[in-house]
């Protein structure tokens, strides 16, 4: 009993001082076998005369077929899981209330007030704009912040900061492995092959970019009057930037829209949204009279805060979409 206890303690002590059993994933270089004459060579397990036990044969089989078997099983199970989920969801959709039926639960007092009183309560002719930027403006603020978060994160991971930090500060504090991988050279950036002589693209771009920009501005500015608004107008504006970058090269776009411009415009737009809507939330919740005029429904200057908010959202969306394109294709903006 005493022996047993001492042995356990010894094992524990070994483990504490680090003499424990070798971790499984440690790679130990194999010693080359001594070069013996053929007759004296020990019979290893691969020798012809060695009869493999069942376990060895199983291990050999696993070594050869294991990965294949695993991948087959894995993809089979994935397909099966997907099929189960797809059929479950289809069955659920079949059970849902019929689309467009007037007795549906979704047709209740909430929708009725949006449709019937949306115009004069928000001042916006476009009910959807009134809904997302006045009734439920907090959700839209969150949505814009989602875009801001994503853009800032991608900028951090792929933007100029990455290359510069790798160049001047390969941090000495790391666990060793991994940094070799990064220090092998500058990260491979997929630079666009920019062709100077693409006359057709340039010609079309010169003609269409002003039209696209005007279209985008119209969609953003008329967001409270007609279908459209900040999200769709911003997407149109970003296509103009992307087309310009492809036709004239990213350097030309950099001269007026770079990382700094992007950060400043997005932050400022979101800040204007936060402050103006924060004022509106505060006055609404505390039943204080708000100084923001609603205007006449149908005028260009109407809808209270909806017009400036649409412009803010448009700026954020345009910058973010162009930023994603530039960062993922060029690694820079």
């Amino acid at each position: 009993m005493n022996e047993e206890l001492r042995r356990i303690w010894q094992q524990f002590y070994d483990w504490v001082v680090g003499n424990g059993p070798r971790p499984e994933n440690e790679v130990v270089p194999e010693e080359p076998p001594p070069d013996l004459p053929f007759a004296q060579k020990p019979k290893d397990k691969y020798s012809r005369f060695h009869e493999a036990t069942l376990k060895e044969r199983y291990n050999q089989w696993l070594e050869i077929h294991g990965l294949h078997l695993f991948s087959v099983l894995y993809s089979g199970l994935s397909v099966l899981t997907c099929l189960v989920i797809v059929s479950l969801l289809l069955a659920t959709v079949a059970e849902l209330p019929p689309f467009g039926d007037e007795r549906n639960p979704a047709h209740n007092e909430v929708i009725r007030r949006y449709v019937e009183h949306g115009g004069h309560e928000t001042g916006a002719q476009n009910i959807v704009a009134g809904l997302i930027l006045d009734y439920r403006a907090f959700d839209t603020f969150g949505e814009s912040a989602v875009l801001f978060t994503a853009a800032v994160s991608v900028l951090m991971l792929l933007g100029a900061s990455r290359r510069n930090s790798l160049k001047d500060d390969p941090s000495p504090h790391s666990d060793g492995e991994g940094w070799d991988f990064l220090n092998r050279g500058p990260p491979a950036l997929r630079h666009h092959v920019f062709r100077q002589d693409d006359a057709i693209l340039r010609g079309v771009a010169t003609l269409s970019i002003p039209v696209i920009i005007m279209m985008g501005c119209v969609v953003v500015i008329n967001g409270h009057l007609s279908p459209g608004g900040g999200f769709s107008g911003g997407a149109i504006l970003s296509t103009a930037l992307i087309l310009a970058a492809n036709a004239y090269g990213f350097e030309r776009v950099h001269s007026f829209f770079n990382e700094r411009t992007f950060i400043v415009s997005s932050s400022t737009a979101l800040m204007i949204y936060a402050l103006s809507k924060g004022y509106s939330f505060f006055t609404g919740a505390n039943h204080i009279h708000s100084i923001i005029p609603k205007g006449t429904v149908g005028d260009i200057l109407s809808g209270g805060l909806i017009l400036p908010l649409n412009i803010c959202v448009g700026l954020i969306v345009a910058g973010t979409l162009y930023g994603f394109y530039a960062l993922f294709s060029e690694g820079d903006m």
């Binding site: 979704a106 403006a137 989602v146 991971l157 504090h173």
Partner: protein, 501 residues
């Protein structure tokens, strides 16, 4: 009725954090100004939350109030809601966030390139804002929007430390998290189609009608299963927790502390709100979701600890221990009683205070051992960084459930709450087994740290802990003892909060 300032605090807290996040890219990135600004903003929110808690509980019985976001009342506009439970949680979240930042102030500087640090602050501010919004929101779609912000920011603060490990971990986390978001989105669409509302108490009323008339039961069950599965993936319930050890083990210490202590808790509290406020406990029981959660919680308690036993890296060990602790919380939720949910909320608070302390302590110890994270390398580090050593010992005692430490209080209340359930034997044996397993990996770690090391001077870099580290660790330890010794008033407060939830 509460006074004017307390009434506006939920709105002010969220907007202070959002504005602080938006303004951070614009201020000069020098002298660690962005981080100081974030700390000030989070501290301010903490003070506001404490005032809100005081104001809600000082008037005899607990009150709760709704705060319309804008000029339109609730079913039409967005709405926030605050009660004692929300106030306690936002206080704990902001305090733990502040301590995670200040405690790891120097290790953040070592791990994150200077140009990335201001964006790290933006992300931390956005995370705090999203946690506050998830705590206060009364609207399911607002919850979804802030879950999205939370997801992206959480993945980005894993990847903020450069290296292939963190990139891989962040990618894995992102894929799993987005699957969870997708499930939550589908479930919210289904629920809206069935109820016609997004506001929690109106949804509750519509669901009660559906259940009473036994109509649309199958879509209702599917939507409940999808929303639970989606949020369970995000809060790392056991079979969905494979992303957690990579993400929490490889990132910088501040990120690990924030992710483990707080980000998981935001999603768990959303599940609690959906169970309690949207569906109602009787409907949850009718649809058998409580049993599923209960079984998964039991599995998580055992399997998280079993995986933790096999780790050599101290941070990965603590990360797997988080999986086990999330299992405790889900056990409380799965009991499906007010007492069970109150115990789960107490465990959320305890874990939000203890786990950042453990990560901060592990960071300090591995820093003292020359940035090595293997358990063997930490031998004798207690004598280099006493504060970190004390933090590890107190955290380990708390996780094992030694009386006097924070974990004891929540484990005791979980045990007491489980006596109401018919599966009490399973709950008690899993609690006992999990505590023993916790001891099996935390006690050796403590012994290793306390063992004298003869060649310490050769390996160790003499990093004296900074003042901010000492102060944060002191506050962590004080919180730990406070929660362990004086948990009864807190539990009473939480129960009152759950009752008005």
């Amino acid at each position: 009725m509460t006074d004017m300032l307390a009434y506006n605090i939920p709105f002010i807290s969220i907007f202070v954090m959002m504005i602080s996040a938006i303004i951070t890219p614009l201020i000069p990135n020098k002298n660690r100004l962005p981080e100081k600004l974030s700390c000030i903003a989070i501290g301010f929110v903490g003070i506001l939350s404490a005032y809100l808690l005081y104001s809600l509980t000082s008037g005899g019985q607990s009150l709760s109030f709704n705060f319309p976001m804008g000029h339109f009342p609730a079913p039409w506009g967005n709405e926030l809601r605050a009660g004692p439970l929300e106030a306690v949680l936002s206080l704990v979240f902001s305090v733990a966030m502040l301590l995670s930042l200040t405690g790891n102030f120097s290790s953040t500087a070592e791990d994150i390139a200077p140009r990335r640090r201001n964006i790290f602050c933006v992300l931390v501010n956005l995370l705090t804002a999203s946690l506050l919004a998830l705590t206060y929101t009364n609207d399911l779609f607002t919850a979804y929007v802030f879950i999205e912000i939370n997801t992206i920011a959480a993945c980005a603060i894993v990847a903020v430390k450069e290296g292939p490990e963190t990139a891989r971990a962040a990618l894995r986390y992102l894929v799993m998290s987005l699957v969870g978001s997708g499930l939550v989105m589908i479930a919210i669409c289904l629920l809206y189609d069935l109820t016609g509302h997004l506001l929690m108490q109106n949804m509750h009323g519509a669901i009660q009608v559906l259940v009473a008339t036994k109509s649309y039961m199958m879509p209702l069950t599917v939507s409940l299963a999808l929303i639970t599965a989606g949020l369970a993936i995000k809060s790392a319930l056991y079979p969905f927790a494979s992303w957690l050890p990579d993400a929490h083990g490889s990132s910088t210490n501040a990120s690990s502390a924030i992710l483990s202590g707080l980000v998981l808790k935001g999603h768990i509290f959303t599940i609690i709100k959906i169970f309690y406020r949207v569906f109602g406990l009787d409907v949850i029981h009718l649809l058998r979701m409580d049993t599923a959660i209960f079984i998964l919680g039991l599995a998580a308690m055992i399997m998280g600890s079993v995986h933790a036993l096999r780790q050599n890296n101290v941070k990965r060990m603590i990360a797997w221990s988080s999986v086990a602790q999330v299992g405790y919380i889900f056990l409380g939720v799965g009991l499906n009683t007010t007492a069970g949910i109150a115990a789960a909320c107490l465990h959320i608070i305890v874990h939000a205070c203890v786990k950042p302390m453990l990560f901060t302590a592990a960071g300090g110890l591995s820093n003292a051992a020359g940035h090595r994270k293997g358990l063997h390398a930490l031998m004798g580090t207690f004598y280099v960084n006493v504060w970190a050593g004390l933090g590890l010992i107190a955290g380990a005692c708390s996780m094992m459930g030694i009386p006097g430490f924070a974990g004891f209080a929540s484990k005791l209340s979980l045990t007491l709450a489980s006596f109401d359930n018919s599966a009490v034997v399973w709950a008690l044996s899993a609690l006992a087994a999990s505590s023993v397993l916790n001891a099996l990996y935390y006690v050796p770690a403590v012994i290793v740290v306390l063992t004298h090391n003869k060649d310490a001077h050769k390996n160790f870099t003499a990093h004296a802990p900074t003042l901010s580290y000492k102060v944060s660790m002191f506050v962590f330890l004080a919180l730990n003892f406070y929660l362990g010794l004086f948990c009864v008033p807190l539990l009473r407060l939480i129960t009152r909060g759950v009752n008005v939830l």
